[in-house]
Symmetry: C2
Subunit: 269 residues, 2 copies
């Protein structure tokens, strides 16, 4: 199994958002090699039909499999909601983890949380994927969802704590006040950028913020441990995108807080 | 020329934004047949490379030509900036108008305007297409640009005059105060939705707001008149998209303020 142990972990997203997952995985597993794919030519996925998202996700899965990954992390909530089963089937023996399952797992694991909030894109919220995943564990848990379409463009603009960000968060989150939620799942990989200010928006109601990027990184470490596939000699991070590598490069260094060697463009089919 | 006279006008955009152009054309030319194409599977174009935008724009041009249009209106600033020449070449004898040329034409036509402001997406502003188009007429005109990436998602969220919209517009437009601009070109087809509140943001400095959707509708009427191609017996409006017809249908009825018969999905290649 020496070869598979040293193989990279594949992470993908529709664009740059999944870099919060990459960062969490690098922090949790610093000696793993990682291949990241961002579908920057076709972002955003949240407004596309399920068929289209599935077709794109399978193309990316095949790309990662050809690169010999030992595990695939779906760092995109839209893909997790629409295409997880298809990806698992395409990946065969290679384990596939996704942000929805991971975030749900963390939320369910918290003691006595019977009232959970979820925020995400319109696509993720409409799919009710978190609601179904939570209810598969415990159908008595109350789940309150809110779609926050402006948070992704705000994060990409770098407006994560100015007056516009604060007002926008109030619009989306004020409905949670007094609702009794005990935890709030950040159901979009861009949202961890707002993690610092969300508690103040919720007026310190003691709501636990669940960052699904951290959740999936924890799940990945556990799963690789179970399979005896942990690598302690790697640490390379390679990025591939489908368009505009320069812009991705700049944003990626900001998201990751580290230098990147370069970003390669690949055409999928 | 009877056949060509009765042929439809083709209008296209990366998504729904170009519907402000369609609305202006319907208002200016109510007895013309119109075919609208919105590339909803691949929106937004503003963050894609020029090569990618050109390839997509040529696919759409070919689709419209096959449908027998008598004129093509590029209702997308990104395409106008990146692919106008290629579309003109592909269209042969069929006239091609674009929002950048039309908006510039209106701005230049205003008496004694020597100081013009332009707002647009990051792609449009970085392309400097408006600056170059204005300077081709008169290189002594001062042009001040500002990219406003959040206005498109705000418009699609329907937040066109709430507190978040007002604060966001202040962030983007406050830099124009005291700059002496006499007119402000709305260099993105979503921006006419903010036309009512922009004057109050600029504190009534008497800045003329130039809506390039209205400009291109006027140019289209003039051009069809010149070519004796005005149709006075039509009035049909047909919509085609590359993905998610239902969402487009809903937004389109809101943008246009009228019922639509239906929206058809086409796959381009």
């Amino acid at each position: 199994m020496q070869d598979l142990k040293n193989a990279p972990i594949g992470i993908f997203d529709s664009g740059i958002g999944g870099l919060t997952v990459a960062k969490a995985v690098i922090d949790a597993l610093p000696t793993e090699d990682i291949i990241y794919f961002g579908d920057t030519a076709r972002v955003p996925y949240g407004i596309k039909s399920e068929e289209t998202v599935r077709a794109y996700a399978l193309q990316i899965t095949n790309f990662l499999l050809k690169r010999g990954v030992k595990m695939i992390l779906i760092a995109c909530n839209t893909v997790s909601a629409s295409a997880k089963e298809e990806i698992i089937q395409a990946a065969g023996d290679i384990p596939v983890l996704d942000v929805i399952t991971a975030g749900t797992h963390t939320a369910i694991g918290l003691a006595n949380h019977h009232n959970i909030g979820v925020i995400g894109t319109l696509g993720t919220v409409n799919s009710r994927a978190y609601v179904e995943a939570i209810h598969a564990h415990d159908p008595t848990i109350t789940v309150k969802q809110e779609a926050c379409p402006l948070l992704v463009p705000l994060a990409e603009e770098g407006w994560i704590d100015n007056d516009v960000a604060v007002k926008t968060l109030h619009h989306y989150l004020d409905g949670f006040k007094g609702s009794g939620i005990q935890s709030l799942i950040l159901g979009c990989t861009h949202y961890p950028l707002f993690k610092e200010i969300i508690p103040s928006i919720l007026n310190g109601e003691g709501v636990e913020i669940i960052d699904s990027a951290e959740s999936i990184a924890t799940s990945a470490r556990e799963k690789l441990g179970e399979l005896s596939l942990l690598n302690d000699t790697g640490g390379e991070f390679q990025c591939f995108v489908s368009d505009r590598p320069q812009r991705f490069h700049e944003l990626a260094e900001r998201f990751l807080g580290r230098r990147l060697n370069g970003v390669e463009v690949v055409v999928l089919d």
